[in-house]
């Protein structure tokens, strides 16, 4: 459960989950929505995969990501959106989380 909270604490990762609610997407399609480097994006995917919130499947040259959230995890994500965390804390948190992910 700690890994789930860690994954959901980051606005970029929450936005990735929101995008995947519309259906499975390739890594490239998801990355188009963000202004971050590919390694940073890969690190975000790894955190989400480790928490069991998404699953990946290799299809040809691309990796397709798909949502795999329980009802509780889905409710947690909606709860964070409902309280407007995305709008109020996005810039500062996004910068901070990007730095955290890039730092080994």
């Amino acid at each position: 459960m700690t890994s789930v909270f860690k994954a959901l604490s980051d606005p970029t990762r929450r936005r990735v989950l929101e995008l995947l609610r519309k259906g499975p997407m390739t890594a490239g399609e998801i990355a188009e929505h963000f202004r971050v480097s590919k390694p940073t994006m890969s690190a975000h995917f790894a955190v989400l995969r480790e928490a069991g919130l998404i699953v990946s499947e290799k299809q040809g040259k691309s990796i397709v990501y798909e949502l795999q959230m329980s009802v509780l995890e889905d409710a947690l994500l909606s709860f964070m959106h409902g309280f407007g965390w995305e709008k109020s804390k996005r810039p500062a948190r996004a910068r901070k989380s990007a730095m955290e992910v890039q730092t080994p």
Binding site: G23, P24, G52, L67, Q68, M69, S70, V71, L72
Partner: protein, 204 residues
């Protein structure tokens, strides 16, 4: 480890709760537990089982997404999961807060309505997801999780339906027959979904 825990948590949880329900039923039969308390414990146990199954349903993917319909099918699984969670919460709340007579009347209706709603929703999703001629619908991975999810759902549906009908109309023969038909309907809805989703492109 992650894959193990994903499958193990709902399975072990359901088995543990089933063991508790059996122990409560035996305790009541030998007179160690008062009937009213046993009734509340059984409804609470069924509610927790429903909650557990509902929470993990979207992760276990009992319908397994197929290319082209993944979003619609995943949405259907999420709806079923949420419905089971709401049902579970309602059953637990009734068992803890409502008078026994009220619980005896309302809990079976909640359970039967929930199972019926999921049946209808899956049949409707199967109907609108039927493949068009020449369309490829290749099944994706997750077979072992699907089997576990299927057993868990059938077990839960059987328990909920038989317990609900027993609470509502005691042990009448027609009630047992009705229960069997509701479970058969649930199995039919599930099978129909799988047949439609697993249909592969025929060689032309």
């Amino acid at each position: 480890m992650k894959r193990f825990s994903l499958v193990a948590t709902p399975t072990i949880g359901s088995l543990a709760l089933t063991a508790v329900l059996v122990a409560v039923a035996l305790g009541q039969r030998v007179g160690a537990i008062a009937p009213a308390l046993a009734f509340r414990a059984i409804v609470a146990g069924l509610g927790l089982m429903t909650l557990l199954a509902g929470n993990f349903l979207p992760k276990l993917r009992p319908l397994a997404a197929s290319e082209g319909r993944a979003t619609r099918i995943a949405a259907s699984e999420r709806r079923a999961g949420r419905m089971l969670v709401v049902m579970g919460l309602a059953l637990v709340a009734l068992s803890l807060l409502a008078p026994v007579e009220v619980t005896r009347r309302i809990a079976p209706l909640v359970a039967l309505a929930g199972v019926g709603w999921i049946e209808l929703d899956w049949m409707w999703t199967a109907w609108i997801s039927r493949p068009t001629p020449g369309e490829a619908a290749v099944s994706r991975s997750g077979g072992e999780r699907r089997i576990i999810a299927a057993w868990m759902l059938f077990g839960l549906a059987y328990l909920l339906v038989t317990a609900s009908l027993k609470f509502m109309v005691t042990d009448a023969r027609w009630a047992r027959d009705l229960g069997a038909w509701i479970v058969i309907g649930f199995t039919f809805a599930y099978s129909l979904m799988l047949v439609i989703l697993d249909r592969r492109k025929r060689p032309s």
